[in-house]
Symmetry: C2
Subunit: 318 residues, 2 copies
């Protein structure tokens, strides 16, 4: 039974691996190695089941390639959900493969709803070690932490936090997302502060009762690397809140941007990247002529590059 | 191939059934008929698979009881997701059962993400009749309409709208939710208008290019019955946007509240209720001493009461 505080586990993994990197396991048919997909389709015919098989094979290779270089992995559930029940079986299998490698797994699910429904989502995605052992419930999608959308306010977020607290799990609330049009609502000026600063205040308040030994809460924030000035301001506004920083690599954020999210001790944040790492074999810099599982070498090389660039950047900031 | 515009289909069903009611198929173990759960557990042992079986049996009975009394059914996916892969198989099966009864099905999924990921979610939950027939993709979770969270702005919402337009499907964006703490963020004053009014303006703008014969868009809004004054204002602010109104019944909204969401012709809105309908056998007014499937009679009676009260209330408003 794992009851160590989530933030303590997260930053322990960072130190142990010397890595602030979270690799995104986002299986996209149009980007995965075509050979691997063709093989699965030959075996099982054109079907979601074949795609699910290809996804698990791809993820197993990626996990094997990056396990010692990343602090955690993150699975974007949408890329599994689009293959229906078969795809979500692949999601379940991927979580287990990552766990078998000792990895912390973040479920990027962005769930949200009114209180009673938020509770059901929390049951779906987070463990509860205090619950009497109920064999009727499923642990299929249980991960170490999930992302959550804050629009419903406290009673849409706290059910996740309370359940996470009972199992050493974590919750990352969307504060400022990395996409192009995120400012349409998130940057609105509300009572002379941008909307996302109000979300930040709530996250700070909600997280206070759930702080671990290293002074970080199990309640974290998602803040994109694509808006570095806001990332810096939000870091100052939310001491004790771990940051999950997407938008690095393919989405445009670089090391100089991402390090704005770290505290002055070089802690408190993880940076996630998916496309630039797991599809690195499509990048001239890492491409290989060898077929087969040569893509693994590219994944590993790209992840090592991101790991060392980020580690060095954060070190220099201290 | 169904290519009739979503809003036209929706309001045609309203007229045909003389009903503004959407019945919520939200299977909750603690509220379902205990006998039905015990039977499934005896057959399959304490397991998510047994619960999934009980859920399908319960939903089949409810669908059969309400099919001619409701304009649509709505499935809250969280109550399936918490039973993992087995639960989502029950979600798939429930969608098919409702379709077999000719019902419009709304997937209450509240998905949201950056553009590329929103596209994957759209593929998961909505059909695309213009796509070449791709057997690799799953239609497991395809429904007539889904709910979507607007926090990411245009590029998190339009991928859903564009896909919906290619299959006569619909999208309901959260504008003002029905829960207690929804005002924490949704009522913030931003540039002298509440936050939810900014969401409303975006929905109005996004929906304009997608209007059907009856002057309603395929893009709709979720606005809770629990804040009737705002419901009235939002109805005026969003002409041509169909409303899906939750918060009726168990959450506190009544007929007088809900009718604020209808237009002056008595159209443009549907009202959803879950607990007060499908668990009506727990309500003294509808309770029955008979065991077995007597709960169906209570479901039917409660749905008929809501249907006629709402139909009459809306008629008086015209």
């Amino acid at each position: 039974m794992m009851t160590t505080h989530f933030a303590d586990r997260l930053f322990e993994a960072t130190r142990e691996k010397k890595s602030h990197v979270v690799a995104g396991l986002d299986p996209r048919a149009e980007l995965m190695p075509p050979e691997l997909i063709r093989k699965a389709l030959r075996r099982r015919g054109d079907s979601p089941e074949a795609m699910a098989e290809a996804i698990v094979e791809f993820n197993a290779a990626v996990i094997d390639a990056v396990a010692d270089l990343v602090a955690a992995v993150k699975c974007q559930i949408a890329y599994y959900e689009c293959y229906g029940v078969a795809g979500l079986s692949a999601y379940r299998r991927t979580i287990r493969l990552a766990r078998d490698h000792g990895l912390i797994v973040i479920g990027d699910v962005k769930r949200n709803d009114i209180g009673s429904t938020a509770k059901a989502y929390a049951m779906a995605h987070l463990r509860d070690d205090a619950a009497h052992n109920d064999d009727r419930l499923a642990s299929d999608f249980h991960v170490d932490a999930i992302t959550v959308n804050p629009l419903f306010g406290a009673d849409g977020v706290l059910p996740f936090v309370e359940r996470a607290a009972r199992s050493g799990s974590g919750v990352f609330v969307l504060v400022r997302t990395s996409n192009r049009t995120s400012g349409q609502l998130q940057d609105l000026q509300c009572n002379s502060r941008p909307f996302h600063r109000h979300v930040a205040s709530l996250v700070q308040e909600w997280g206070e009762g759930f702080v671990g030994k290293q002074h970080y809460s199990l309640l974290g924030a998602v803040v994109g690397a694509t808006f570095p000035a806001q990332l810096k301001e939000l870091r100052a506004a939310m001491p004790g809140i771990p940051f999950l920083i997407p938008g690095f690599g393919a989405q445009g954020g670089g090391v100089a941007d991402a390090i704005e999210g770290f505290d002055r001790h070089g802690g408190g944040a993880l940076v996630s990247s998916s496309r630039a790492l797991i599809y690195a074999f499509r990048n001239g810099r890492y491409a290989s002529d060898r077929g087969g599982d040569a893509f693994k070498d590219a994944v590993r090389a790209a992840t090592e590059d991101m790991r060392s660039a980020l580690w060095e950047g954060v070190r220099r900031k201290r």
